[in-house]
C-alpha cells in the first residue's frame, strides 16, 4: 500500500545469479543476469540482459489495503530478443476482518495463471489461514497453507503447516522465529526464458521442513528487514541449504530514498519457483506534493508477508517521513493506548489533554517507550506532552492547533 501511494520512480540495478543448487537446468549455473528496472507508481518496466538474449518486461501491479484486508493484482508480459514471449497474472486477497480483532485470524489467497509459448497454461493457487495470539509486545500464530497447481492436464497439491513466535524487543525492533513443515506433490520446473520445455523433476512427493528467524527494525528514516532460514530434508529438495533475504530503505530526505535488496532464495516445490541469488540497489523518488513515507520492499517471504505489528499497532497518527515520529497508537480492547517515543534519556514523561481535563498524567516506561496507563476510547483529542519537567509542547508529527494561550496543541485521533 505504501509503495502504491508514494512511488514515483525507482531505478534499480540488480544482479541475479542462479543458485548452483537450484532446481534449474545445469547449464544455467554460475551465469549472471543484469536487470535494470524503473517503477512508476504501479507499473514496472524491466530490461534483463542475459548471456544468450535480452528480455524486456512490463510488470503492472496494484495493491490496496484497509484494516479489513488487502487486494493485490499483478502480472507481467515479457518478450525476448529471440521472439519468446510469456505472460502471467496474479490475484491476491488478504482478509483481516474487524470482527477478528478480539481473536485475531487472517486468511489469504492467491491465484496465478502463467502462459508461455511452447507450454500449456499453468495455474497456481494458494490459500492460507492463520490464528494469532497477541499480547502487547509479543505474539504467536499457527497457520496452514494449501496449494494447488495445474500443468499439462495434471494437478498437484501441497500442504504446509507453520508456527511462529514474535516479540518486540524494542519499539523499533521485532524478532520472529518460525518453524514449518511442507509436503508437496510432483512438480515440474521450467526455465521459461531460455529453453522452453526443459524440465527438472522432483521426487514424487517432497517433504521438507524449515527453521527461520527474522528481524525487522524501523526508524523514522530507515527500515530494515532480515530473514534467514535453514531447510531440513533430502537433498532433492535442497535439504541442508540455507537462505536469507535482506532489504533496507534509507530516506536521505523526505523525497529521496536509497533502497537495497539482497538475498538467496531456495526453490519452493509447493509454488514451483526456482532458486536464485540476487542483489540490487535503487533510488526511490517520492512525487512532489505527495506525503513521503519510508519505502517498504514488497515481502517475498511468507514469514514477513504478514508483519505482526500491522495487526497489532494501528500505526503512527499523522506521521510521515521527514517528521520525527513521537506517537504510536497500540490497539486495545476498548480503544487504543497512546505510546510516546521521546528517546531513552528521558526520566519522566507526562501527557495532558482534554481527555484528562488537562490534568497531567505520568506515562509509564515500557520497553523503551512511554505509554499511557489506560486506553483511550475512540475520539479526537487535543494533547500536549512534557519531558523531564520542561515546557509543555505538542508531539512531533501530529496536526497542530493554536490554543487561546499563545501555544499549540497536537490533535490525536483514536480510530474506531
Amino acid at each position: 500500500m505504501t509503495v502504491r501511494r508514494v512511488a514515483l520512480g525507482l531505478l534499480a540495478a540488480s544482479l541475479a545469479i542462479p543458485n548452483e543448487h537450484g532446481a534449474q537446468p545445469p547449464r544455467n549455473r554460475n551465469e549472471r543476469n543484469h536487470d535494470v528496472s524503473v517503477d512508476v507508481g504501479g507499473l514496472t518496466l524491466r530490461r534483463r540482459a542475459e548471456p544468450w538474449h535480452r528480455a524486456v518486461s512490463v510488470v503492472p501491479h496494484w495493491r490496496t489495503a484497509s484494516e479489513d484486508g488487502a487486494l493485490y493484482v499483478g502480472g507481467a508480459v515479457s518478450g525476448t530478443q529471440n521472439g519468446y514471449e510469456s505472460a502471467y497474472g496474479t490475484l491476491g486477497l488478504e482478509l483481516t476482518p474487524q470482527s477478528s480483532r478480539m481473536h485475531p485470524w487472517d486468511l489469504a489467497g492467491t491465484a496465478t495463471v502463467l502462459s508461455a509459448r511452447a507450454t500449456q497454461a499453468i495455474g497456481v493457487a494458494t490459500l492460507r489461514g492463520r490464528k494469532h495470539w497477541m499480547a502487547d509486545d509479543e505474539g504467536a500464530w499457527v497457520g496452514v497453507t494449501l496449494g494447488g497447481r495445474t500443468q499439462d492436464q495434471t494437478q498437484f497439491g501441497s500442504i504446509a503447516a507453520e508456527a511462529s513466535f514474535w516479540r518486540s524487543v524494542s519499539p523499533a525492533t521485532t524478532v520472529m522465529l518460525t518453524a514449518s513443515a511442507t509436503q508437496a506433490g510432483d512438480f515440474l520446473y521450467y526455465e521459461y526464458a531460455d529453453a522452453p520445455g526443459t524440465e527438472f523433476r522432483l521426487p514424487h512427493t517432497a517433504r521438507f521442513g524449515e527453521l527461520a528467524a527474522a528481524i525487522r527494525h524501523v526508524q523514522p528514516r530507515v527500515e530494515m528487514a532480515l530473514d534467514g532460514r535453514y531447510r531440513l530434508g533430502p537433498s532433492e529438495v535442497l535439504g541442508g541449504s540455507a537462505a536469507f533475504t535482506g532489504d533496507v530503505a534509507w530516506w536521505v530526505t523526505s523525497r529521496y530514498a536509497i533502497v537495497g535488496l539482497v538475498g538467496r532464495q531456495l526453490a519452493d516445490p509447493a509454488l514451483g519457483t526456482a532458486s536464485t541469488v540476487y542483489a540490487s540497489v535503487g533510488l526511490r523518488i517520492a512525487a512532489r506534493g505527495l506525503a513521503a513515507r519510508p519505502y517498504t520492499a514488497p515481502p517475498r517471504d511468507p514469514v514477513l508477508s504478514r508483519r505482526p505489528e500491522v495487526l497489532h499497532v494501528r500505526g503512527p497518527a499523522g506521521w510521515s517521513a521527514g517528521l520525527k515520529r513521537e506517537l504510536e497508537l497500540v490497539e486495545a480492547r476498548d480503544g487504543a493506548f497512546m505510546q510516546v517515543h521521546v528517546g531513552a534519556a528521558a526520566s519522566t514523561v507526562e501527557i495532558a489533554g482534554d481527555f484528562s481535563g488537562w490534568q497531567p498524567i505520568a506515562l509509564v516506561k515500557r520497553d523503551g517507550a512511554w505509554r499511557l496507563p489506560e486506553p483511550l476510547a475512540p475520539g479526537v483529542y487535543r494533547v500536549i506532552v512534557r519531558i523531564d519537567g520542561a515546557e509543555w509542547r505538542p508531539l512531533a508529527g501530529l496536526p497542530r492547533l493554536q490554543d487561546e494561550f499563545g501555544g499549540e496543541v497536537g490533535v490525536v485521533t483514536i480510530p474506531r
Partner: protein, 225 residues
C-alpha cells in the same frame, strides 16, 4: 460569601487528583476568585461548567497569565451561550459543547440553526463535532459546514458522518489536500444517500457515543478486571 464558597469549591474540584495524575495542577485562590463571576453566570444560564473548569485548568497547566485564563474561560462561556441560543429551545449539554467548538473554528450561528432543523434534540452534536474536526485538519470552516449541513439535510446517519470524518482523516494523513479529501469523500456519501434504503431513520438519530472532543468525554477508563 457565596463567591468565596464557589471559589473554594472550584479550587477543591480542580485539585482532586485523578488516579493516574502525576502531579495535579491546582488553581490559586486569586484565579478562582477571578473566575467566579463567569462561572456564576454560566451556572445561572444553565450552561455546563465542566468545559469551563477544563479551560481554566489548561491555562494553568500552560502557565498562562491570569487575565488570559479568565478571558479564555469567559470567551468559552460566551460561545456556549451562543450555541445554546442557536440550538434552542432544548439543547443538551453535549450539543452546547459541540456547538461551541464549531463556533470556535469559525462555523456560523446560522449553520447551527440549520443543523437543528434537521436534527432533533440530542442528535446535533455529532455533525457539529465533525465540522470542528474537519476544520482542525485544514478544511475551511465554510466548506466543512456546507458539506456537513448538506449531508445532514440529505439524511446522513451518525455512522455515516463518523465514517466521513475518518475517511477524510486517512486521506489527509496520506497526503491528500484537506479540501480535496472532503470533496471526494462527500461525493461518495452523496451517492450513498441517494439510495432510499440508506436514509436516516428516527431510530438512527441517536446521541453519539464517544466520538467527542468535549472535555471528559474520553477520560481514562479504569481497567477492567
Amino acid at each position: 460569601m457565596r463567591r468565596t464558597g464557589i471559589a473554594v469549591l472550584l479550587a477543591l474540584t480542580l485539585g482532586v487528583a485523578r488516579p493516574a495524575s502525576s502531579q495535579a495542577v491546582k488553581l490559586d485562590s486569586a484565579l478562582a476568585a477571578a473566575l467566579s463571576p463567569t462561572l456564576d453566570a454560566a451556572r445561572a444560564d444553565g450552561l455546563p461548567d465542566a468545559p469551563l473548569f477544563a479551560k481554566a485548568q489548561e491555562g494553568v497547566l500552560k502557565r498562562a497569565p491570569r487575565e488570559r485564563i479568565v478571558g479564555a474561560v469567559a470567551a468559552l462561556a460566551d460561545r456556549m451561550r451562543a450555541a445554546r441560543g442557536e440550538l434552542a429551545p432544548n439543547a443538551t449539554d453535549h450539543e452546547i459543547i459541540a456547538g461551541a467548538e464549531a463556533l470556535a473554528v469559525g462555523v456560523s450561528g446560522q449553520v447551527l440553526r440549520t443543523v437543528r432543523l434537521y436534527r432533533p434534540r440530542g442528535t446535533a452534536a455529532m455533525p457539529l463535532e465533525v465540522m470542528a474536526h474537519l476544520a482542525w485538519r485544514g478544511v475551511a470552516p465554510a466548506q466543512a459546514a456546507d458539506a456537513i449541513t448538506r449531508a445532514v439535510a440529505g439524511g446522513a446517519t451518525t455512522g455515516q458522518l463518523v465514517a466521513l470524518d475518518a475517511s477524510v482523516r486517512q486521506d489527509v494523513e496520506s497526503g491528500v489536500a484537506p479540501p480535496v479529501a472532503l470533496t471526494s469523500r462527500t461525493r461518495g456519501l452523496t451517492l450513498q444517500l441517494q439510495a432510499p434504503a440508506n436514509r436516516a431513520t428516527a431510530a438512527d438519530a441517536a446521541p453519539p457515543q464517544s466520538m467527542s472532543s468535549s472535555p471528559g468525554a474520553g477520560r481514562v477508563r479504569p481497567r477492567k478486571p
